[in-house]
């Protein structure tokens, strides 16, 4: 039977995939067509959404992109007949090759299987790794295999996963917990959401393997409430796994191993990505971090040994146990093994989700896979690591992507957000944006973080408003260092990074703002000056009519002028002028 598969991640749905699905469903039912309609997760090519794949009886795949309610009807009607009519809808060859440039391990099933059907996951070799562990390996052997793979935590810090598991295994207790951190809070990152929506079973299997290795009987997934679709699909996956006997008592039969998983919806707090804060939140408290040690591996959830890993880390684990740690370690660099998933966004032509081997250069990702900057503008910087990271400038585009090299630039690998910026992005404004974020998200426990980030934000806001003073840069640096030293958890320790890294590479932009009251990227409104060119103005009066504050004066067919005192720098005149007579400086 012919299959029609619609990519339905949250982003696909936002682009209209659910409407496409409904239209296809209606047509198939109406005409009684012999077509099986299915849905799958996000394949990562977000700029082509909604994506529809057709697999005919012979197993041939055809991919159609930017599908609409109308064009899905064309696809169904013409697929068996006039295929040429569908040429305009087919995926272009250059986009097809984007997948070939990637190495997909964590994303191996995303966009390929129906996440709501456990059988499809099993058919692809799913749940074989956990069964192998339970029947043929000791917990120590599982951890040893992981050690060979050299997998490091994909949530941001990059701590060796085997080491955490080993510590939790060695803790003596009858009750232990395996926790999945799915509180993906970095603004600009959506790798974990896509994995949860596209391949929830790989996360469950990873957690099962970990639970067996450390000796946990209970697993908890702490997932953001802002990801409703991920929660729905996880619930379906857990229920299906229970029915199969993969979760519950004596899983897989005759193994004597009990393990079950439940979901806990987070309530919106960035700091809960920190392990101890996450545990506090799981216990129903305010999510505030505490001093380590004791580490969660010794005393975590309800004071019992607890291991916490991130979604992408778990998704890698079944593959590693299935293929062998050495296979995984064969990919990547000396100290950073395997692959990493990145969310490529911002001013990028072909944004989406990419999984690449460690060691590939930033240039290859941004220009080779992402195809460069929208409108072929000048690349300025790429932001990695979100509010804990930094901006990497154009001269460092050949930096290899591995933990050590990225850290050297002043950014961090982070969880995988990669926001590309062009010449129109103001770096001072970027720093201000991130400090605004961390200032709001600081839990308030440490004074340096709570007040320090607020003071830094005030200074940055002042600079963007054209009220910067001599000594502001030194003051920012002083505060930054003190916040790093005086904060308990990762949020505070890394909060000043966006400022420090932009100061390192774009100090001249700060100086332009402070000393010359100019924003080179023309983003900081207060520093802009709109003027009308005498020679170009035709006196059409359009700008004067559109100006919301009546700051533009001039008779019809006479040159207009802007009253700088009244001007609120909204840019309306610039936008509406048909003769390019309005300039901004």
């Amino acid at each position: 039977m012919m299959r029609l598969i619609v990519g339905q991640g949250s982003c696909g749905n936002a682009a209209g995939a659910n409407k496409v699905y409904a239209a296809a469903d209606q047509l198939i039912k109406q005409q009684g067509l012999d077509i099986r309609l299915e849905s799958t997760g996000c394949v990562g090519m977000c700029y082509l959404e909604p994506i529809v794949e057709v697999i005919n009886e012979a197993g041939e795949r055809s991919t159609f992109v930017r599908v609409t309610e109308a064009s899905v009807v064309d696809i169904i009607n013409n697929y068996t007949g006039d295929k040429a009519a569908l040429d305009g809808l087919s995926i272009p060859q250059e986009d097809k090759s984007i997948l070939d440039k990637q190495t997909r391990i964590a994303l191996r099933n995303c966009g390929n299987i129906n996440p709501e059907d456990i059988e499809q996951y099993i058919a692809g070799g799913g749940y074989a790794a956990i069964e192998k562990c339970l029947r043929h390996m000791t917990p120590q052997q599982v951890i040893d295999e992981l050690k060979v793979s050299s997998l490091r935590g994909r949530g941001g810090a990059g701590f060796p996963t085997w080491f955490k598991w080993d510590a939790a295994r060695k803790s003596q207790s009858n009750v232990k917990y395996m926790v999945c951190n799915a509180d993906e809070g970095d603004p600009g990152a959506f790798m974990d959401r896509s994995i949860l929506e596209g391949d929830p079973h790989s996360v469950l299997e990873g957690m099962m393997i970990g639970a067996y290795a450390i000796g946990a009987k209970e697993g908890v997934i702490y997932v953001r409430a802002e990801y409703p679709l991920a929660i729905v699909r996880l619930n379906i996956a857990i229920e299906q796994a229970r029915q199969k006997g993969f979760l519950g008592k004596d899983i897989f039969g005759g193994t004597g191993f009990d393990f079950d998983i439940r979901i806990k919806a987070g309530a919106g707090a960035f700091v809960c990505g920190e392990e101890t804060a996450l545990i506090a939140s799981l216990e129903g408290e305010r999510g505030m971090p505490r001093l380590k040690p004791p580490f969660p591996a010794q005393k975590g959830y309800w004071q019992q040994p607890t291991n916490i890993n991130n979604v992408e880390t778990f998704a890698n684990i079944p593959w590693i146990l299935d293929k062998g740690g050495d296979q995984y370690a064969a990919i990547g660099t000396e100290k950073s093994k395997g692959t990493k998933v990145f969310a490529l966004t911002g001013k990028i032509k072909k944004g989406g989700l990419v999984e690449v081997p460690m060691g590939i250069s930033l240039r290859e990702i941004i220009f080779g896979i992402g195809n460069g900057i929208v409108g072929d503008k000048q690349f300025k910087a790429v932001q990695m690591g979100g509010p804990s990271g930094g901006c990497i400038p154009a001269q460092l585009l050949d930096t290899p992507v591995d933990y050590e090299s990225i850290t050297k630039t002043g950014a961090i690998m982070g969880s995988g957000g990669m926001v590309v910026m062009d010449e129109t992005t103001c770096m001072v404004d970027m720093a201000r944006y991130f400090l605004d974020f961390t200032q709001k998200e600081s839990c308030g426990k440490c004074i340096h973080c709570r007040l320090g980030t607020k003071r830094m934000l005030e200074i940055l806001t002042r600079i963007c408003e054209g009220k910067g003073k001599d000594g502001d840069i030194a003051l920012l640096e002083d505060l930054a260092n003190k916040i790093k030293e005086g904060s308990l958890c990762g949020l505070g320790m890394t909060a000043p990074n966006p400022v420090l890294s932009t100061l390192r590479y774009f100090r001249d932009e700060y100086e332009q703002h402070i000393h010359h009251k100019k924003c080179p990227s023309k983003q900081c409104k207060s520093l802009l000056r709109y003027e009308i060119l005498k020679d170009a103005c035709t006196g059409c009066t359009l700008c004067a009519r559109k100006c919301p504050v009546g700051a533009i004066a001039g008779e019809r067919k006479a040159v207009h002028t802007i009253d700088q005192e009244k001007c609120i720098k909204c840019g309306k005149c610039f936008d509406v002028c048909n003769f390019s007579a309005v300039t901004v400086d």
């Binding site: 809070g185 999510g287 944004g351």
Partner: protein, 170 residues
């Protein structure tokens, strides 16, 4: 606990099954608050006091947890809740201009509700639809690749839908 009018816990019966569900599960305060908000739209002081009394924790703790997490709303919201994404990609691609368009169209700022109780505007940390930035979500439906003009158009459609249904009722 009595409310200001002296009535006793009026209308909170719907919470009873929720209390029952979490009765023997320690650490469930956040889950109870989430379900309460789902049922009543927001967490009023009376509602939080009622929850505290029923699950045996101090009202101060309930209030402390409710104010810590951004998901919890302490004020009623309009019929349509606009969540404007504040993610990095949205910021870089012009979320500020979208915010201005919403403010121009509805005359509300972040956290405010229109006088006709139709729209509430809330900022939200990343919605994870970065490739469609800038993005907003209205009652669970995501709208991407927004421009100020497109934003206003969407809001006007919602308004038109409302006045139509008002006509029908009249």
């Amino acid at each position: 606990m009595n409310c200001c009018n002296g009535c006793h816990n009026q209308g909170y019966e719907k919470l009873n099954p929720v209390f029952e569900k979490y009765r023997n599960k320690p650490g469930s305060l956040i889950s109870v608050l989430q379900e309460a908000q789902e049922l009543y739209g927001y967490l009023s002081m009376e509602l939080m006091d009622y929850i505290a009394e029923n699950i045996g924790v101090k009202p101060a703790k309930v209030h402390g947890v409710a104010t810590f997490y951004t998901q919890f709303r302490l004020k009623p919201v309009g019929k349509y809740l606009i969540l404007l994404c504040q993610g990095t990609a949205c910021h870089v691609n012009g979320a500020d201009a979208v915010k201005e368009a919403i403010t121009e169209e509805l005359s509300i700022e972040e956290g405010e509700t229109t006088s006709d109780n139709l729209f509430t505007l809330n900022n939200v940390a990343c919605l994870g639809c970065c490739s469609l930035s800038p993005v907003m979500m209205i009652n669970g439906e995501t709208f991407g690749k927004l421009t100020p003009a497109k934003t206003k158009e969407i809001l006007r459609e919602f308004k038109a839908r409302e006045s139509k249904s008002a006509e029908v009722t009249a």
